[in-house]
């Protein structure tokens, strides 16, 4: 494992059980390393294992084989509770469908991430959430519930929530897929700017790699995922 890498996957496989002792292999990654502060775009067809790969790196899904290191920590050597805590502190996750909690306001959704991590003192949580939302242009929307926000605003709240604990690694699963082109462009611009300023390691799933500029490393799942490559050949 390279000490220079923010994320390293080695011999990682993921198969979902089908019953009767059989399994459906969906991912087989021999090696993947992401440099700290880099921006990497994953692309590939539906079902090529992009979301599964993000879930593995986030420690949400356990691999069937192999090892995943994030910030030099072997994720799946940790007991579940510590892995949850590690994720809260070190990984920001932006979902395609925002996944904001409907009962909470914009600022409360952001505070929620800090509450679970416990790294930001409680008295500072609301101020930090407000600052983050202001950086994403939502200072007038702090008390609004998700249903009172536009889709673009909801995704910006989700981005603020992912960044709330100052995680060194941010994962984003097609963050703009459910936005119209213009809003997607605005949201993406803000997202990338904040990540660049804070020197986050960014791993995104997107079909539009060009939107991330020449600085982004683009990985095609057909090449990274040997299962996908085998499937393509057959």
């Amino acid at each position: 494992m390279s000490a220079q890498s923010a994320v390293v996957l080695h011999g990682v496989k993921k198969a979902f059980p089908l019953g009767g002792g059989r399994g459906l292999e969906v991912l087989d990654v021999a090696h993947l390393a992401l440099a700290p502060g880099s921006c990497t775009v994953l692309r590939g067809r539906s079902g090529s294992g992009k979301t599964t790969l993000l879930n593995l790196i986030a420690g949400i899904t356990a691999p069937s084989a192999g090892a995943i290191h994030v910030d030099d920590t072997d994720l799946f050597a940790l007991p579940q509770a510590r892995r949850d805590r590690f994720r809260a502190e070190n990984v920001g996750y932006v979902f395609q469908t925002f996944n904001l909690l409907s009962a909470l306001s914009a600022i409360e959704n952001v505070v929620l991430a800090m509450m679970f991590a416990g790294t930001v003192p409680r008295r500072l949580q609301r101020r930090r959430a407000a600052d983050l939302l202001a950086r994403l242009g939502l200072s007038e929307r702090l008390g609004h519930k998700p249903a009172q926000l536009s889709r673009g605003e909801q995704q910006r709240v989700a981005i603020a929530r992912a960044l709330a604990n100052r995680p060194p690694l941010v994962l984003a699963d097609e963050p703009c897929a459910s936005l119209d082109a213009r809003t997607a462009s605005e949201v993406l611009e803000m997202f990338l700017a904040v990540c660049r300023q804070d020197q986050k390691t960014l791993l995104l799933v997107s079909h539009d790699a060009a939107a991330f500029g020449e600085a982004a490393r683009v990985i095609d799942m057909a090449e990274l995922n040997r299962t996908e490559a085998r499937r393509k050949r057959t």
Partner: protein, 395 residues
Amino acid sequence: MTIFTLAIKYLRGRFVASTLTAVSIALGVSLVVASVLLARGIREGFIAGATDYNLVVGAKGSPTQLVLGVVFRMDLATPNIPYTVYEDLLRDPRVEAAVPIGVGDAYRGFRYVASNSAYFAAYPWRRKAFTLAAGRFFADNSPNEPSYEAVLGAEAARSTGLQIGDRFYEGEEMAEYPLAVVGILRPTGSADDRAIFFSLPSYWGMNEVARAMVVKPLTAVLVRPKRMSDLPSLHREINVTPDTQAVLPSGVLLTIFNMMAVAEDVLKMILVTVGVIVLLYVFVSMYSATIERRREIATMRALGARRASVLTIILAESAALATVGGLGGIVGGHVIAYLAGALLGSSGLVTNPLRFDVFEPAVLGGVIVLGTLAGLLPAVLAYRTEVAENLAPLS
């Protein structure tokens, strides 16, 4: 924000469902609290209202009817007995005190009770003493000179608004014999608070049949023997006569309590059924809420929430619902008991439904524990929510 405030926000986010759940808990608890308060109140009302006399002598018939009618004024009066029964008992060397009672009609629901000054006498063995809040006791006049003076029980005076000097009668046929208020009693916490007292001559004078009778009628005689050892012989001797019976009020009270115990057993079964239904409702409510927000639970887990945190949120929600419902139920139970107590009061039984009882914290604690347990399975469901599966984009 804490886990608990998050649970409260979730409850507020489902305001209608949360309110309905809390109300259903409150209704169930209200029924339990009201039932216990009323059962206790009725028992205490019977005990407080029980007479200090050891025998009630009246016409042959139902012993329960005799005691309920004469002591608690809750039933129709039994047939009359001749005044000579009272005179015989007064002469009996075994009798320390004998009090004649004539139970008549009522004025605006407040029973007429005729007696003499012995009824209000402060014997050392009496638990309650009659004292006047205003005026004086009626005169113990001779049979041929009815005074038509009345002394009102505290509740009878308060409800009718009658004051010293006022004259009143019930029904046009009684206009000729109006009663004049000469005294108002202080509250005694018994059926006497709802009675209107006057002399036996007035009682006879108001009744056309009684006026014509040579031997005047009575409803009953309250008897206190000098020695308790004389009680069995007195009881036996009176009961062998063809027209009168002697009843031990304590025995009737026991019969009433035994009948109440049967009713209470049935009530307990109903209350247990209500409790199970309420718990099922809480379970279904929490279960469906958990199913509905599996995606949000998965999101929290993806944000770093531990399984234990998710479990705690659901349990805190059900505990909060149970607490609110339980507290509401205790308040509601007292309100129901108060209203039902007012109805019982109109039938002569005085209860105290507003008094806080030591069983209520136990009820509240039990409701919180059971309500929280009703949320346990949904909480375990949340605990075991598969994160990746529930985070998949919606189609």
